[in-house]
Symmetry: C2
Subunit: 154 residues, 2 copies
């Protein structure tokens, strides 16, 4: 079990492009209820099953298990709620901080968000110039919500 | 991935008691929607996370992963839907066939069902004298349904 503290921002520029590594992510939900999210994800050659509890003060319980990619693919194709989330994750290091930039495709095409994981809630974050408005607490940007009401329908 | 073919019966007698081994099972659901059931179970010293698709002709897709029991216990205590399912599973062999008899406790106390797993749907089953009415297709007896509408409220 881990406890995740993350902040999420809209991406306002393109200064991050062409840096870091990119991974294609495909994910879906077996449960998108906020009290008990169950996510299936394939990321490159790996696959994970992730269970998350409710978020309290930007913190939530998270359990993650690696599973066989072919089994994850069957769950994504046959079992998960529709639509699926598809995105390219770019991992970019800026001044020692690791940013994950999610460039959505599919039904959420056009949306780009950047996330940073923190040690504790009070930690200061140096924002690169391409980081825009913070949306940490805006549930519309939760991936589980983007699977219910995708960006293309906002 | 496995495909499960099971038949389920009410238990009408006590001829199975005191035979075989008994395991205490505690289980809950992260999703109890029939198209995508996600079950957390502790059984004795072990714990499993199980994902099941929809049942078609007594057959359904099933994925099962062993997880750390302490993580399963947190999920059961804090994340799963209420109420939890609690039961004692008795595994009894009769004439070479393995029967799983679930004696429910907690909110489903009073209910006892017996299940047998088959190689294929057409396989003949020799019914022991304590096996009563078949309830394979009665969704009220699905454990996921017993967690929504427990036997004590029928």
């Amino acid at each position: 079990m881990g406890t995740e503290i993350e902040r999420k921002f809209l991406v306002a520029g393109t200064g991050w492009r062409g840096r870091g590594r990119a991974t294609t992510i495909r994910q879906g939900y077996l449960s998108s209820v906020k009290e008990r999210i169950v996510r299936v994800r394939t990321a490159g050659e790996r696959a994970m099953l992730t269970i998350k509890g409710i978020t309290v003060d930007a913190t939530r319980s998270e359990f993650e298990y690696e599973i066989p990619p072919d089994e994850a693919t069957i769950m994504l194709d046959e079992l998960c709620e529709r639509p699926l989330i598809e995105k390219i994750r770019h991992v970019v290091e800026v001044d020692g901080a690791v940013w994950e930039i999610d460039e959505f495709t599919g039904v959420n095409r056009g949306l780009v968000v950047a996330e940073i994981e923190l040690e504790d809630e009070a930690q200061a974050v140096a924002l690169p110039p391409w980081v825009g408005e913070e949306v940490t607490d805006d549930i519309r940007y939760y991936n589980s919500q983007l699977a219910v009401t995708p960006y293309s329908r906002w």
